[in-house]
C-alpha cells in the first residue's frame, strides 16, 4: 500500500515538475545531512546569485549520506536530483543506474581533487560523482598524559601502558568497519567478482592469524568496546586510547584538553610479527540522479557545492576534511591533528567502494563472538563469516 501511495505521489511530483518546467524555472531538490543544512542553504544561495540568469527553485531535503542509497532506491523518481552519499554505496547505486557519469568539466574536477578521492568515486574507469570530503576513516585518539608517542606505535605497547595505569583501550570490534582493519592489515582483501558479488578471503592463513590477534586483543583486561557514546564519555577518565574518526574530534578535544593527541593506527602482533593495522577510507561524494529533469543544471549545482571554496567552507564550519587538493593544503587543515592523523593512516587504507551491503552483518556477528570471548575454532568461525559475506 505504501508503494502504491508513493507511486501516486511520484506521479504527482512528476506532473508537478513538468508544470514547473513550463514556467521556465529550474526545479531541483538537494539532499544533505541534518547538520549540513545551514551550510547547504548558504551554498545554494551563493549558487543562485552566481547564476542569476536562470530562475532557480532549489529545495533542500534532510537525508544523511549514510541513508542516501536506501532512500534513493525506495523510489528513484521521487529522490533528490542532487544528493550526497558515502562512497561505499557507489556500487549499488551504479547497479541501479542511479548516477549520471561526470562528463562535463571532468578534467578540471579530476585535477582539483586528490587522486584517492577521485578513485573512490570511480567504477570501471567511469567517474560517477563529485568528491566532497575525504575524511570518512578512522585512526587513534590518545591521552598524552598516559601514552607517549613511542607507546602508540604498537598495540601491545598501548595495552601494556593502559594496564599499568588501570585504563581502557577503546575499539568497537563488533563493527565490520573497524574490525576489518586487522584483516586488511594482515593482507586480506575484500573485492568483487564479475557478477557484482562480494568476494572475501578473510578465512585464509593470514586471516586466521589476524583473527587470533583480535581474540587476544578482546581478551586483554584493558580492552573496551561500545558505541561512540562510550568513547565520548570515558576518554581521559577511564579510557586512554580509542579508535574513531574525525566526527569525534571536538568531543575528544573537550575531554582531553591539553592531553589531546591523535595518530595513525598502531601495529599489532600477527603470527609473531608486527603488522600495521589497515583501515577503510571512505569519501563522501555528490551524485546526480539519472531521473532528474534538468541534468545539466543539476551537474552545475553538484559541482558548485563541491568546489574549492565550498570545501573550505565545509572545513571551517563542519571540520570535514577536504578532498580538494588546494583546500587540503591550506594551513588550517594541515594544523588539524585529527585530519593529519587520518592522512597518515590513509597510506595504509583501502577504499570502501568494493564493500557491499552483505559484508556488515556477518562481520559484526564475528566481532560479537570475539567480544564474548568465544573459544571456538578460528578457521570455522571465519569460514562461516566468509560464507555469509559471499552469499548471493
Amino acid at each position: 500500500m505504501k508503494k502504491l501511495l508513493s507511486l501516486v505521489l511520484a506521479i504527482a511530483l512528476v506532473a508537478g515538475m513538468s508544470t514547473c518546467a513550463m514556467a521556465d524555472a529550474v526545479t531541483l531538490k538537494l539532499w544533505g545531512a541534518q547538520e549540513d543544512q545551514a551550510l547547504l542553504g548558504e551554498l545554494v544561495e551563493a549558487f543562485k546569485a552566481e547564476n542569476a540568469d536562470v530562475e532557480w527553485d532549489i529545495s533542500l531535503g534532510v537525508v544523511g549520506e549514510p541513508d542516501a542509497k536506501t532512500r534513493y532506491l525506495e523510489d528513484p523518481a521521487a529522490a533528490a536530483d542532487v544528493f550526497a552519499f558515502a562512497n561505499d554505496q557507489l556500487m549499488d547505486l551504479v547497479n541501479a543506474d542511479a548516477l549520471y557519469e561526470v562528463t562535463r568539466n571532468k578534467d578540471a574536477i579530476v585535477a582539483a581533487n586528490s587522486a584517492g578521492s577521485i578513485e573512490s568515486a570511480t567504477l570501471n574507469d567511469t567517474l560517477y560523482g563529485y568528491p566532497m570530503t575525504a575524511d570518512n576513516g578512522y585512526f587513534l585518539y590518545y591521552d598524552k598524559s598516559v601514552l607517549t608517542e613511542e607507546d602508540v606505535k604498537t598495540l601491545d605497547g598501548i595495552l601494556a601502558k593502559a594496564n599499568e595505569a588501570g585504563k581502557k583501550v577503546f575499539m568497537d570490534v563488533s563493527n565490520g568497519w573497524y574490525i576489518a582493519s586487522f584483516f586488511m592489515g594482515a593482507g586480506c582483501e575484500l573485492g568483487m567478482d564479475e557478477n557484482g558479488n562480494q568476494t572475501c578471503d578473510f578465512n585464509n592463513a593470514a586471516g586466521v592469524a589476524a583473527g587470533e590477534a583480535i581474540r587476544a586483543f578482546c581478551a586483554d583486561p584493558a580492552f573496551l568496546t561500545g558505541d561512540d557514546s562510550v568513547l565520548q564519555g570515558g576518554m581521559g577518565e577511564t579510557i586512554c586510547a580509542g579508535v574513531s574518526g574525525t566526527w569525534n574530534a571536538d568531543a575528544m578535544m573537550d575531554k582531553l584538553g591539553d592531553n589531546y593527541a591523535a595518530c595513525k593506527l598502531p601495529t599489532f602482533t600477527c603470527a609473531g610479527e608486527q603488522v600495521q593495522m589497515g583501515s577503510f577510507i571512505g569519501t563522501k561524494v555528490v551524485g546526480v540522479n539519472t531521473q532528474t529533469e534538468f541534468p545539466v543544471e543539476a551537474m552545475m549545482l553538484a559541482e558548485y557545492i563541491t568546489n574549492e571554496a565550498a570545501q573550505v567552507k565545509r572545513f571551517e564550519q563542519r571540520a570535514m576534511g577536504p578532498s580538494n587538493v588546494n583546500a587540503a593544503a591550506s594551513e588550517a587543515v594541515q594544523e588539524n591533528l585529527a585530519l593529519a592523523a587520518l592522512a597518515a593512516q590513509s597510506a595504509h587504507g583501502t577504499s570502501q567502494k568494493l564493500v557491499l551491503g552483505t559484508y556488515w552483518t556477518p562481520a559484526e556477528a564475528f566481532g560479537l563472538e570475539m567480544e564474548n570471548k568465544s573459544t571456538a575454532d578460528m578457521q570455522t568461525l571465519l569460514d562461516s563469516m566468509v560464507a555469509q559475506i559471499t552469499a548471493k
Binding site: M1, E101, T103, G226, G233, P295, T361
Partner: protein
Amino acid sequence: MTQSKAKKRTPAVFGWFSSLAEVFREGDMWTRLSALIMGLGQLKRGQVIKGLLLMAFEALFIWFQTGFGWQYLKDFGTLGTNAQARVWDEAAQIFRRVPGDNSMLILLFSVLTLATFIPFIAIWVINMKSALYVQKQAEKGVKPNSFVEDVKTFLDERFHITLLTLPMLTLVLFTVLPIVFMILIAFTNFDKNHQPPGSLFTWVGMTNVTDVFWGDQLKSQTFFGILGWTLVWAVFATFTNYIFGMILAMMINKKGIRFKKMWRTIFVVTIAVPQFVSLLLVSKMFTDTGVVNVLLQQWGLMSGPIPFLTDPTLARILVIVVNLWVGIPYTMLMTTGILMNIPADLYESAAIDGAGPVRQFISITLPYMIFVTAPQMITTFVGNINNFNVIYLLTTGGPLTLDYYQAGKTDLLVTWLYKLTVNEQNYSLASTIGIFIFLIVGSISLVVYNMTGSVKKEDQFQ
C-alpha cells in the same frame, strides 16, 4: 453454520453460469449480439439511456485497455526486458538517459489492469441477463423499466448495493490490490542486484519459497531458527504477562488490602511513558557500560559486566522480562475489571462447601477468566508473533550470529523481514517470509479461536 452456507453457495455459482447459458439459448439475435456490443439488446427494447451507458462503459474499458493497460500488460510475462539506456548528448556533454522498462511499474499496473477485468466481466454478465430479461418482457408485451425506475431500485430493493459499493471499492483498491502486488513480488528476484531502472527483475517461480525451506541451507537454517524463537517468544510473552498480570490484579483486589487505588495507579504509571521511550532507555541501561552493569560492579557484586544484550540466552531472557514490565499493567487493568465482575455468591457458596483459596481459584476464577479472555489472548499471541517494537527497540534483533543469514538471535520473523527490506533491499525474500508469517498467524488464530469456549458456548455466558 459455515458448512450450510457453503452448500447453498455451490448451486448458486452453477446457477450463475447456467443462467448465462440460458441467455444464449433463449436470446434472439439482439440479445446475443449484446455479448459483443454491450447495451444493444436494451437499446432495441427501448431502454435508451441504459443501453447507451452500457455502450459507453464498454468503449471506456476498451480505451483504457488499449491506451493504458496494454503497455504494461504486454510485458507482464517478462516484467520488462529493456533497462534504462544511455545515449551520448554531444551538445550537453552528458549521457542522456532513455527511459526503459520498469519492472516494478509493469508489475504494479498489470495487477491494476487485470483487476479492472473483474468489474468488466461482472457488468458484462449483468448486461447479458438484463438483455434477456427485457427481451422476455417485450415478448410478454410488458413495457420495460424506464431509466428512472431502474435508478430508483437502488434506493429501494437494491439499496445494499448502493451502500456497499464505495467501501468495497476502497477495500479492493487500497488493501486487496497492494496485497496481491506484494505476494507476486515473492515470485520474482527483486533484490539488491535487480533494482529498476538500472537492472530489471523478473519471475523466478518458486525459488524463493524453496530457498527458505530447503534450497538454500543458510536461509532455511535462519528461517527455522527464527521461527522457533518467534513461537517461544510469543508463548512466553503472552502467558507470562497474562499470569503475572492476573496475580497482580488478584493481589490488589484481595479483601483487606488497603490503598487499592494507589497500588493500581502506581502500576499504571508505566503506561504514561510511551513504550518506545522506555524500551530505548532500558536497552541503554543494559549495555556493558550501562547503569545496571556499572552499579553491579560498583557495589562489588560483579567483577565484569554481564553481557545482557550480547549473550544470546541472556538477551532472550531480557526481552521476555522487559516485556513483562511493559505489558503487566495492561493485563492488570483488564483482569481487574473481569475479577470484579465475578459474582461474589459463587465464592461464598464455595467457601461454605469448604473450598480453600486454591480450589476457588482453579474452579471459579480461572475458568471464568479463560472463558472471557480467550479471544483477547489469541489477539495478544498473534500480536506478539509480530511484536516489532519490543524486540527491535531493545536489541535490534541482536546479538548477531554467524549461524543466521543477516539476522540475530532475538530476531523475530517480522524484524528479520524488516532488516531484509531496509538494509538488504531483498524484497522478494522478505515478501516470501511475509506470506509465511501471514499463513502461520492466520491458521493459528483461526484454529484456536474456533476451539475456544467463548465461541463454542457463546450462548452459555451468564
